[in-house]
Symmetry: C2
């Protein structure tokens, strides 16, 4: 009996996801845009230090083995850039993507324009929604974070970072767009490098910031759809559209 | 001697304003855009009730006489919509603009696209920057407010309201745009009617909201330039640009 109840629940979940996917596609109606449903992850960064794997709400309890890189103090090595965990891994910038993918189970998506559909926005802070985005020959890390900068008043912070150097990051412009109920909010900026750390970008407030009330206005049934586009800076002219 | 010092100060202020005007024009480079320098007004709404005139920083101490409208309880009369003062005036919607202009000394500007240059952003909350904007045959009230929703953490709230009914307001879309240092933030929405009151729009958070850190990123020498555009909703298609 329990088995059938669970099966029925899973089928309902699938229908719900399909419906959310359809709605997000309808809002962000440009042809060929990929809608990616992103589940929340409760940040374990300030939990007791261990090399934990990404525990998405769908995969809780599955902990792949740690792959520690023995410290050789090579100046070209960078620490793990995963915003979720205090991970002792370090390696060359070129292998950060595969580390994030394999150890921290962060999904990677292709395409110049995608829709990031963050589910369960009501979950308490601190919570993160994270994907990697492969585009224009580079990989980007998109982080949406719910955090209480002021106690009792959670806010949402969204930013896109290049998995590359600050010099490489200067060649790009990213755009985050919310669009619902005849309201539209757009944030455009040069991505920061993951070497600058997500935590500093968010504490500097140099990203898209949403109060809970604004996040609710743009949410649909607890999910927030963020349209994402990346262009090279040569194409982008910050003053052209005014 | 004091006279010459003051004259010299006034000339310096003029040069500074001219320079700010030039810079704002350079950022918002579309031809024909009017740049309007808006001085802050300390909100007196919650001060002892009186029919006070707008005390702009340039005009402090000048209090024009009150023009009370004798209450006749005509259902077509609306209260004073000035967000700054608890004013007992009431009148027909058609004369709200002249009341705001004459009694509260709120400036009015013409043009479909203007640049609102708010000065002295560092002043403590509560502070308002207000103008009226005449466009497409209607008048709009633009309010930028610095307010502490959470004690010790001032935020900026910007909204545009139609001096008209909610049904008339539904025919328009307004856009507020910040653009500086390779960052751009755009808010687009249907204006609310002044009959819905600025205070409720701001407490609902249904407007452009800026943290102090974000406001600083977009400010230049203590002034914030906001590009404003109003279109009719028929022209605007919320899903076209995605």
């Amino acid at each position: 009996m329990l088995f059938f109840t669970q099966c029925f629940g899973a089928v309902l979940d699938l229908i719900h996801l399909r419906f959310q996917h359809y709605k997000a596609k309808r809002v962000f109606s440009a042809a060929g845009q990929l809608v990616c449903v992103v589940n929340p992850t409760h940040s374990l960064k300030y939990a007791p230090a261990r090399c934990a794997a990404a525990q998405t709400s769908a995969e809780q309890g599955i902990l792949p083995p740690c792959h520690h890189h023995e410290a050789v103090h090579d100046p070209q090595l960078v620490p793990c850039t995963c915003p979720l965990f205090s991970c002792p891994w370090e390696g060359h910038l070129e292998v950060v993507v595969s580390h994030l993918r394999q150890t921290h189970r962060i999904n990677i998506l292709q395409g110049a324009e995608i829709v990031f559909l963050a589910t369960d926005m009501h979950l308490p802070a601190p919570t993160d929604w994270i994907i990697m985005h492969s585009c224009l020959g580079h990989q980007f890390l998109l982080v949406l974070r719910k955090q209480e900068k002021y106690e009792g008043h959670p806010q949402f912070f969204a930013t896109m970072m290049l998995i590359g150097t600050p010099t490489q990051a200067d060649n790009f412009t990213y755009r985050l767009e919310l669009n619902r109920n005849q309201r539209r909010l757009k944030w455009e900026a040069t991505p920061r490098s993951v070497l600058e750390r997500v935590d500093s970008v968010i504490s500097d407030g140099d990203c898209l910031v949403l109060n809970t009330s604004l996040a609710q206005l743009f949410s649909d049934n607890g999910s927030l759809a963020i349209g994402i586009a990346i262009t090279t800076s040569k194409v982008h002219n910050a003053e052209a559209e005014m």
